[in-house]
Amino acid sequence: MNFRTKLLAATAIVSASAASAVELEVTHWWTSGGEAAAVSKFADAWNATGNTWVDGAIAGSGGTARPIIISRILGGDPMAATQLNHGRQAEELIEAGLLLDLTDVAEAGGWRDIVNPSSLLDSCTLDGRIYCVPVNIHSAQWLWLSHDAYEKAGVAVPSDWNEFVASAPALEKAGVTPLAMGQQGWQQNLAFGAITIAVAGLDAWREVTVNKNADVARGPEYTAVFEAVASARELARESNVQDWNQATNMVITGTAGAQLMGDWAQGEFSVAQQVEGEDYSCLPGLGLNPILDTGGDAFYFPVNDDPEITAAQKELAALLISPEVQVSFNLAKGSLPVRGDIDMAAANGCMQKGLGILADGGVLPSGDQSLSADTQTQIEDLMAQFWSSDMPASEAQAKYADIIARAD
């Protein structure tokens, strides 16, 4: 025991004295090459102010990084800033008084006026106070099409989801899997979400997802959705890859006609040196409804009892949303900026399409902001079950409506 106590005292002292004034430890889950390049834009900007960015990168958003972030905050020795998906995830931490109130920074910076769409700031807000800085926008409703596959099938590349479904028999005849789909719940749920907005329309979607109206979920609009998803399931029968990027690879190599995936699929196409418009096409909102959700990432700042660190945290918060940093970060990340007042001329074709939709106000809140993580997990389980079995559309719809009825 003696030995242990000594050891413990010795190391604890070392670690206590090692912390210096304006070193901010920042936790995030951007770790791949492109993401790392984007983070270093933040870090460079921060280091340029004379402070130090201590990088605590932990890959894997949901299951991996979150328990770590929460444990650190609960343990009374939190990081200075951390990435979290904005939305309902941080509500409880805010209620427990563990996150720093940024309202004064937001007012000084006029965030209300510059953040576009303003729903991003709403999801950082609880009881009128602002607790996070949105830094980028990712959207999920994209259909990626392989020109190569359509050449093989001898039909024109479709310009919306309905044309794609109509072209499926031709693809199958040419030995091409119409729809690539990774066999993971979140991917299947993503596809479901994208098809919902395209098929059921915005009003029904809002009624179910935002207002949790189970009757609408049982109604005819959603029957059409589940039938569309059931037919998509048939189109993806031959696709048995797991990772989303393996599915993207099927589109790249032309073994599949299309994939429903978020805008981050862009990265795989660029790495494979594919050219937008020549080798592949992207259809935001599946080409039907020019609407994108506004999921994305935000930074939160755990409460710290050192006033010097608190001041530095606020300084960092203001920096993350400043125009230059927003441009350089989002160009590196391939995501859309959170402010509408900056020039993104350097963005590529698909990003420009997304920017255009944002500028026209074609946004809807991300499911993250309306449904709790618990409800989302249950929907993912249901989708995983539905996509990989022969469950009839009506049964899936009934189960879905039950989940919505229970949702909080």
Binding site: G185, N240, Q242, A373, A384, Q385
Partner: protein
């Protein structure tokens, strides 16, 4: 039914109970603290919070048995429990048999023992995140084992365990055995090495065959080692998580879900701590139901005998 050393220990310790055991008690303080504070304390804390509606943070808003009702109403949990039973049975049997046979082979004074042992053991050293992917590829029908065999000319060969809900648990078993048998083999080997060379001489003098010696003499002598292996395998089975996440992520659909994955997903991904705690309490209760009678037989029985 008692551990080999029990009777003599009792005779030794009786006269010295007061003083000589003091050191043993002092030396056991870390163990006692761990058992009481961490395992008992942490478990009580978990059980307590399974009756709450805790979401992201542990809170004490009591909801009674609501979490348990929801748990047993969930398709995914029921499937998880069934999968664990299936996987557990086969994994336990195969690991014990394969590990013992390999250990016995290695114990026969063969050449390159070190090489063989390292080959059987190396999977244990590699993080499953990526080795799971390697197995995923090998078992993938389009570019893995099936396509190779078909390439040899056996066109009708079918081997696609991971995409069939009926067989996916066996697909996991192939990789699970690959990873887990090496360590058990080492424990068995250590046990075999602890057995006196003279036993073999005696058996040979009596004209008992090798297999018969193993089954009738060696295995009974290795009972404590088998118990260690059994606990190690069984605890690994209950905690089965990484393998599933890396290889199938519960798929196809939810047909390869397991209880530990349910617990972890609901605690951290769904941020419904109460639900996760309820599930882990159910797991713990079943472990206790199995272990307590066993512990009673193992430790308690000898006092009467």
């Amino acid at each position: 039914m008692t551990v080999a050393s029990d009777p003599p220990v009792q005779t030794v310790r009786k006269p010295n109970r007061m003083f000589k055991n003091k050191m043993a008690k002092i030396a056991s303080i870390p163990m006692i603290l761990t058992a009481l504070c961490v395992f008992v304390g942490g478990t009580l804390w978990t059980v307590l919070h399974s009756f709450t509606g805790s979401r992201m943070l542990p809170k004490r808003d009591w909801v009674g048995l609501a979490q348990y009702e929801r748990l047993w109403d969930s398709d995914r949990w029921i499937i998880s429990v069934k999968n664990l039973a299936l996987y557990g049975f086969f994994s336990l049997t195969f690991t014990l048999v394969v590990a013992f046979c390999l250990a016995a082979c290695l114990d026969r004074k063969i050449r390159f023992e070190n090489t063989f042992r390292t080959i059987f053991l190396y999977p244990f050293a590699l993080s499953f995140v990526v080795t799971g992917l390697a197995w995923q590829w090998i078992l993938n029908p389009q570019f893995g084992f099936q396509s190779v065999v078909r390439g040899w000319g056996w066109e009708s060969f079918n081997f696609d365990p991971l995409n069939n809900p009926e067989t996916v648990m066996f697909g996991l078993l192939i990789a699970g055995l690959w990873q887990g048998t090496g360590l058990i083999m080492c424990i068995m080997l250590a046990g075999l090495r602890g057995i006196d060379e003279d036993i073999w001489k005696a058996a040979r003098v009596d004209g008992i065959g090798t297999v018969k010696t193993y089954v009738q003499v060696i295995i009974p002598m290795m009972r404590p080692v088998f118990i260690t292996s059994l606990v190690l395998i069984a605890s690994g089975i209950i905690k089965l998580y990484d393998l599933v996440v890396a290889q199938t992520n519960g798929g196809p659909g939810i047909s390869s879900e397991v209880p530990a994955k349910y617990v972890i997903n609901y605690m951290f991904q769904a941020q419904n701590l109460g639900q996760g705690f309820a599930a882990s309490t159910m797991m713990l209760v079943s472990v206790v139901i199995i272990l307590i009678p066993w512990a009673y037989l193992e430790f308690g029985g000898k006092k009467n005998g």
